[in-house]
Amino acid sequence: MLANKGVNPPSFRKTGTTIVGLIFQDGVILGADTRATEGPIVCDKNCEKIHYMAPNIYCCGAGTAADTEAVTDMVSSQLQLHRYHTGRESRVVTALTLLKRHLFNYQGYVSAALVLGGVDVTGPHLHTIYPHGSTDTLPFATMGSGSLAAMAVFESKYKEGLTRNEGIELVTEAICSGIFNDLGSGSNVDVCVITKGGKEYLRNHLQPNPRTYTSSKGYSFPKKTEVLLTKIIPLKEKVEIIEGGDAMEE
């Protein structure tokens, strides 16, 4: 309504984004790009989109950055309390249910699209969670503005029983497809490998976008702001204090 009067609400920091996950022989591999955008401007060239949920569970987030951070931090805390309460390792379906309940309650206003992956006693799991609260359970998944570019790679090359290196290579290829073909995604590739034995967070696994040109001579900037005009206006003179004057009334 305000937009009609020409007043636009502030634009949120969205992650643009390409996030992916796949299940391989020994567990789950998650991948993400590292660009955060505010409209057409890149506000963070190297942000972290793979969030910690539990020692054996990680979650990639696309959509509004504040929402993905807040919701993953919140559920991560809840999982820790639950671990203390039960004395057991967290399960992926627990994180899934906590996340989807929260998102459904907010009817889609919490704009978080997530790829949740982990390995627990029941085996490896991979899920996608949509802002309105629906979930899918898949062998490979992509989300974000670059999801089509990444999914094209997965649909061409995915097969069951991939080895660790094959899996990492495929995830990297899918994220790169998003980075180069989607304008909302860019910069570096983050990868996270989760297996029964443990997890490996490969921050900036690939950095295919270095700065292309740096001037050899460098640039100088004027040390201080130019003074255009100096004008000194004396304030009123101090009032004289007369000793022994009339005392103030009580």
Partner: protein, 223 residues
């Protein structure tokens, strides 16, 4: 009952940035070569720079279909001028023609943000900058397009064009040598492509000087 808004627009924005810098005896005009729509890239190798006359080059960002139509229109008018006057149009003359052509479509504008660069009749560099409906001004340097908000403050800091209101009248051309101006342009585009999603792929740099027109390219980020 709210007034019904149009659900179809004749315009689209293909993104990209252009820069032009005028020197004492040269003019540098540069633009990136990425053409996009929404979040997709249409092509990584599109030229936004057009030679209008011997010593006059235009770079335009915005809606490339309108830019193409505008370039065609100007080329046709230039040909007529050559037939009638038996010479090429000078840069200031072309600047006026471009302004008139844009204003002609004041009520259904060319969605085209232009910078015109070249040498004037005395061989000095000149740059003209336009808005979509033809308002123009001769300046020492200019930037248009999606990256202009990132590029202009840096050019202001390094080149600081004198105000046309100051007396005595100061020359708008930069004291930089041609090589330094090209270095500045490369730096500025490398920086803009770091932070603007619509700028990237390659830069096309055109230099107009007494010996003629020269073209060079530089790679930019492709993400």
């Amino acid at each position: 009952m709210v007034k019904q808004q149009a659900n179809w627009s004749p315009y689209d924005n293909n993104g990209g940035s252009c820069v032009a810098i005028a020197g004492a005896d040269y003019c540098v005009i540069a633009a990136d070569t990425r053409m996009s729509t929404g979040y997709n890239i249409l092509t990584r190798e599109y030229s936004k720079i057009c030679k209008l006359a011997d010593k006059c080059v235009m770079a335009s960002s915005g809606f490339q279909a309108d830019v193409k139509a505008l370039q065609k229109q100007l080329a046709a008018r230039h040909l007529i001028y050559q037939h009638q006057h038996n010479k090429q149009m000078s840069c200031p003359a072309m600047a006026q023609l471009l302004s008139n052509t844009l204003y002609y479509k004041r009520f259904f504008p060319y969605y085209s943000f232009n910078v015109l660069g070249g040498l004037d009749n005395e061989g000095k560099g000149c740059v003209f900058t336009y808005d979509a409906v033809g308002s123009y001004e001769k300046v020492g340097y200019s930037s248009q397009g999606s990256g202009s908000t990132l590029i202009t403050p840096f050019l202001d800091n390094q080149l600081k064009s004198p105000s046309p209101l100051l007396l005595p009248v100061q020359d708008a051309v930069t004291p930089l040598v041609e090589a330094e101006a090209i270095d500045l342009v490369k730096t500025v585009f490398a920086s803009a492509s770091e932070r603007d999603i619509y700028t990237g792929d390659k830069i096309e740099i055109v230099v107009v000087n007494a010996t003629g027109i020269r073209r060079e390219y530089m790679e930019l980020r492709k993400d």
